[in-house]
């Protein structure tokens, strides 16, 4: 005990800067946000500023778009997680194999991770999925099918595809390194036990990847909760509110309508929700974070 206390005192200055700045970075805006959320505060109309009580929250929570946006957030995060984890795992298994040109192929496969979300969205929207000029439209019509109007008829799916495309390489990278850390003797033992390729994957590789997958899920969730650029550029949250996620809703309040009061209320709600998600998420990877782990 005394050891712990003493060394913690001596090395406190090492961790203090990070904790202090992060704390400030969190608490100052948060406090201001909470304060604003209790005000009637429209940027465009500074004169009418006044105490609003919980009006902003009521206004937000009664907005029909609110529930939709939470559902959309869940759908978006969930589907992208599934796609990236599944896709990343399959790719990791594939690229774990030796084949000619593997290095170059791997580099090509991870390239989407380096592309700015804005650019990714623009490219997909205009060059790939555009119903008239896009490549997909041409491909479909050249085999005699009606071009798909992605952003009108499958808006959420389109957004999910774009976001997943960007994040698969990340999952792939982490899972690939995880696969490479699998004790080769374990694979050999399974081969001796008579496991086929599929059984090897299901019984040995997949369980081994559990931890890496939870790491991927953890990091990705943090970023996916605040997906924004892709939506703004492709669908602007629409049609209707079909692709409005919580971040986008808050964006609409804050930056399209300049209703800082409601936006702040939305921010607070988002923080609360995010922390609920984080709580469950973190539970599942907490083992990795424990000092003893």
């Amino acid at each position: 005990m005394s050891q712990t206390l003493d060394s913690s005192r001596r090395t406190l200055p090492l961790v203090a800067p990070s904790v202090v700045v992060l704390f400030l970075w969190m608490i100052v805006p948060l406090a201001m946000t909470i304060y604003f959320s209790l005000l009637r505060y429209n940027l465009l109309d500074p004169g009418s500023r006044g105490f609003a009580g919980i009006d902003n929250f009521v206004f937000l929570l009664t907005d029909p778009a609110f529930v939709t946006s939470i559902w959309n957030t869940v759908v978006l995060v969930g589907s992208v997680l599934i796609l990236t984890v599944v896709g990343g795992t399959l790719m990791a298994v594939l690229f774990d194999q030796e084949f000619p040109g593997r290095g170059v192929a791997r580099v090509l496969a991870i390239a989407p991770f380096f592309v700015m979300p804005t650019v990714a969205a623009l490219v997909w929207k205009n060059l790939m999925m555009h119903p008239v000029n896009g490549l997909f439209a041409w491909l479909l019509s050249s085999i005699g099918l009606e071009p798909i109007d992605w952003f009108t008829h499958y808006p959420m799916l389109s957004v999910i595809l774009i976001v997943a495309w960007q994040w698969i390489p990340f999952a792939f990278l982490i899972l690939l390194t995880a696969i490479q850390s699998l004790d080769p003797e374990q694979k050999e033992a399974a081969r001796l036990d008579g496991a086929s390729g599929l059984e090897l994957f299901r019984f040995i590789i997949l369980p081994h990847l559990k931890r890496a997958i939870s790491v991927v899920v953890m990091i990705e969730t943090i970023f996916l909760l605040s997906v924004f650029a892709e939506i703004r550029i492709t669908t602007s949250g629409g049609p209707g509110t079909d692709t409005t996620n919580l971040t986008y809703l808050v964006f609409q309040f804050g930056l399209q309508q300049f209703d800082i009061g409601s936006a702040s209320a939305g921010g607070i709600v988002a923080v609360v929700l995010a922390n609920v998600v984080a709580f469950f998420l973190v539970r599942s990877v907490a083992r990795e974070l424990k000092p003893g782990a």
Binding site: E185, A189, D193, G194, F203, H208
Partner: protein, 376 residues
Amino acid sequence: MAALTLRNIHKRYGGVHIIKGVDLDIADGEFVVFVGPSGCGKSTLLRMIAGLEEISEGDLAIGGTRVNDTPPAERGIAMVFQSYALYPHMSVRDNMGFALRLAKVPDAQIKAKVDRAAQLLHLDQLLERKPAALSGGQRQRVAIGRAIVREPKVFLFDEPLSNLDASLRVQMRIEIARMHERLGATMIYVTHDQVEAMTMADKIVVLQGGVVEQVGSPLELYHHPRNRFVAGFIGSPKMNFLACTVRALGAQGVSVELPGGSRVTVPVDTAGVQPGQPLTLGVRPEHLVEGERAGSGTLNGQVLVVERLGGSTFLYVDVNGETLTLQVDGNSRTGVDDRVAIAVDGAVCQLFDATGVALTRHDRHPLADLGRHRAA
């Protein structure tokens, strides 16, 4: 049948030649130990037998059938890895039953087989645990159990005890030996541990640089090493080597002059040996005796270090600038800096020529051809 035959087996990785033509016959039910310095190809050989590495050249037969191209799971072989390679996410029961489950054996049958193996290995209480919750020795037994349930014809062990502490090693060594007796399966065992090799093997295969140096029973290697490498590798502490010069040849064998001038006669063939020729005399620490003895050569030296183990004592003696190791009684009172005389009995010595090849002994040691646990 589970006899193994290796015929001119080669292994090359790209341009590197790892195994350079190994010929070996392993009888059904035999316990064979592979020893050799690190990197000599022991694991590679084992893995080729298991089917985990392709055989570059040569033929491998198990039970008379060529199996070069048979997948591992169909060779009737089980392997116990150095690191155990247990499946960390499965319980002990699932680890042991995995192969059977893959083979679509009915659940009830799997359970029965696993239970039987667990009993044999005293694992009954641990069947629901994960490997992480087991001690080293228990993990070892699970790894063996995983092999047993498959009822293989051949067991392969790759340094299975190297991760265990001394007392557990002794215990596991005995258990494996007993298991061999009970199951009667062929076993091939890689180790770098002297005691394991000597005590477990029916037959030891000494490898160096991808080549078999000598094959034989433990005591054959101990008493009749074919060359200086084998002599030095088998036995602990290591055999002492002394430069000597041939002085006379006779029916008794070769008489050589030791450093210090005294002579010993070693009962070996004189063919090809000439007086004046320099040879190397090899003598084991346990065969050197403190003091002078009639009929023995004598060396004189000064004690550098004394190591008392209680039951026995090692003396490290400087003899004309070379250090000799003696194993003497635990009650010996010889101390550091004491001058000692050392008796060398020619009858238990070896002679090696300049290329390291041992001169053939006249007699054969009575235990040299003894099976491991068959009475003489």
